[in-house]
Amino acid sequence: MKTHNKTKKTPALAGWLLKQLFPEDGADTVVGDFAEEYNHIAGKKGIVLARFWLWAQILISLKPYIIYSFLWRMNMFKNYLKVALRNILKHKGYSFINLFGLAIGLACTILISLWVTDELSYDRFHKNARNLFCVYNTEHYNSGNIVYSYSNPVALGPALKSTCPEILEQTRYIIQSLCLGGEERNFVMDVAFVDPSFLKMFSFPLLKGNINTALKNPYSIVLTEKSAARFFGSTHPLEKSIKIGSKHLVPVTGVMANIPRQSQLQFDCLIPISSLKEFFKFDMNNWGMFAFKSYVQLPEGVNHKEVERKIAGIIKKHNKTANESVGLQPLTAVHLHDLKGEGLMGYVYIFSAMGILILLVACINYMSLATARSTQRAMEVGLRKVVGASRTSLYGQFMGESILLSFCASCMALIMVHLVLPYFNQLAEKDMVLSYSFLFIIGLTGIALFTSLFAGSYPALVLSALKPVQILKRSRQKTMERSWGFRRILVTLQFSLSIFLIIGVVFIYKQMQFIQNKNLGFHKENIICMRMDGNINKNYRALKDELLKNPHIMNMARSNATPEAKQSSISGHLIRWEGKQDHQELAGIHLLGVDYDFMETYGISMAEGRFFDENFSTDWGKSVILNETAIQAMGINSPVGKQLYLGKDTCTIVGVIKDFHFRSLHHQLEPLLIVMNWSLSHISIRLKGKKIQETLQFIKRTIKKIIPGSSFLYEFFDERLQSQYKGERRMEKLVRSMALLAILISCLGLFGLASFTTQQRTKEIGIRKVLGASVGKVILLLTSEFSKWVIAANLIAWPMAYWSITKWLQGFAYRAPIEFHIFLISGAVVLLLALLTVSYQSFKAARTNPVESLKYE
């Protein structure tokens, strides 16, 4: 053997197995012995025989190993499993409550985590996501007002790239609704005008066409797959062209994959920004008109704050009258944070907290019920201990049971999520799917393990610590006393959460009602709005004359936006007026372009002066109307007839219109300037009477007749108004479902607990009844116990709810008042629910014949 210099290593698996077989300290030398013998045999009889020998040795020793250790362990495990199952079956009701509560909690947490991960995934699919930034500007006023905006001058992008070497790429981005002509049909599409670098910066992959040349020529258009299909069906789009306006025929140079929902940039097609100059004679060196979004790409690892410092003053440098300084916001932050540092992220935090809270409530329930059940299992624990179970093995048993249950609950939860997900998607307006990715499975297992550890640890610790002598001497009342205080706290906590959520729901509902009923200053019902293209605008007179012949159409008007939509605005420093003092200043004014019948169509009234009138030829371009807030802010006395200077233009104020809410109620009323010389892109038609459907058909026919080939796409004005509060409505629905769930879970928990506590007090009740207590007295005794907890829960929930509601309402400029009786009513409702929950048990206990409960003494 010594002549063989080469020594063979034993197979790794065999070595490992050997080590397992000898778990004592000697394992190392034993493995060494086998290695030596293995080498010896290998040297003498060959490696094959040596292997054979080694494995034979392992197999021989495996058998006793299995028999002596594994089999016994299995036996014990089988016993644990059997006892656990028997316990579950013995108390079917409680087991179901326990499992169901936990499953609901888990399902909620899964749904919420789906939503949260979805919100957090916005714009992260871009390969460069970390290096892309959105350019914004801030305007500081002497009054301390700061106005943030993503709209920049068109010339900013190229100037940024040429002045700052850190900026690798830049693209401008502006969305316009244009009517595009296909081979057969026309479509109104959201067209994004962008720089050629757009496709390289953002990861919108081209399915057809060349990424380098697709947007090079001003005469080119890149369609998304969806819009390509709308224009050309299944035929190959690359050789086809699309008509923009009436003159320009543009070839399709690329087809890109559909835009993922998790993108803030949503458009139907891309057109090079150079075509703005080519087609519309747009001045690409303009520094005065703020309308373009701008994105830049920085190199990896460059701090955007440093770049920001270099470019901050660039607008002021090129435009002496401008006051805006430039900043950069990471692309991935845009969806979640608005520039004031608020935004969706708040909701993400709220819902994450809710998810964790609901999971906690479910866990607390589980704990509370499992602890209560320990009364019944104390005997078992005592016996096990007497027979020789160690504390660790008991701990393992209860933990194992808890893990088993929570994994059952996870399976139930998954089934629930699958059932509920379609509705949840509807509610959240998303299309989330439950994908069993590695991360998800790990996460769910993690949650299940956490739940079982959290929920199982208390009973496991309490039960395994019980002293067998005490238990077997039936002095268990004493051991249970200790957990009373703890359980009281648990129940109180979850009821306070339920009360908190209910109060929240009520106040969100009240605020939504308040918004619904608030007089916005204009008429809301029976108005339809539609966008129009150039063809309609040209034939508007004829169309209006024709439509107004119908008695069901009250009036119609054109405007550049519907009254509730976000208006364009003019910087405050461009505005001067007759009699302006130096200290007077306007922090910008919103601009609304209208034509004659706008006021009548929307039912707005004048405070002073007159509205635009066809009899005054100067109204077109020379007259303006202000709202009351503007007059107040400017401090003009008797404004009608005074002059207003807008940059170089001079206008006359012909009237003051009564304030109406031209923005959502999140915002205070702000100054508004109404003019007539604006590009008018919307038609609003006010209907009257009941025959809405017929009137709509009539409008459609008339438009088709006068302007053949145009489409009739309309929206009801009140629906547009509603959509301003989409976020809040969604929140209302979500919080409502969560409140329902919280109540359900808390009541389930209370029900289980109540039945156990009454069971424990059976003897006491029996004695009370023997001594002459009435059924009513006993019920009172039992329910008052629980009412105390719920009242305590109220006291915890109220300040929390008050604080959160005030915080939430701060998002609105106009708020419903916080009424204190709502707190009381919510608390009372929850108390009533809690009493109903425990009443069944109390009633049953109170009605029991005392003989039943006392005869075993």
């Binding site: 020594t7 000697g26 030398t29 034993v30 060494g32 290695a35 030596e36 013998e37």
Partner: protein, 109 residues
């Protein structure tokens, strides 16, 4: 009186004889040679462990060798108690053989 079993006696003698080479592989090899029968590792380990517990043997770790995959040997040495029990069994054997001739078939006739 505590008497050694035959296996224990054999192993103690092997340990004595092998001295600083007295570890399980060598002991087993020696036993196989002497008894001309198969000894499994387990048959060596069990009495060794037992006699360490009884105080007849002590063990210590020695340097590893490459054949052992870098693992150390456990070398066994006799303790005074071990030596005592050997001498006891030897005495007993002597007494029990005293006066008897060499065993042969002839004696049975």
């Amino acid at each position: 009186m505590n008497l050694l079993t035959r296996t224990e006696e054999l192993i103690l003698l092997a340990v004595w004889r092998l001295r600083e080479k007295a570890y399980s592989v060598e002991i087993r090899k020696y036993l196989k040679e002497v008894t001309a029968s198969y000894w499994s590792f387990g048959a060596v380990y069990m009495p060794l462990d037992r006699m360490v517990k009884q105080g007849y043997l002590v063990s210590s770790l020695a340097d590893p060798t490459p054949q052992r995959g870098g693992r150390s040997k456990r070398i066994y040495r006799l303790t005074p108690a071990g030596m005592e029990s050997l001498s006891r069994i030897k005495k007993m054997q002597k007494t029990i053989w005293e006066g008897l001739p060499e065993p042969s078939i002839e004696e049975l006739k």
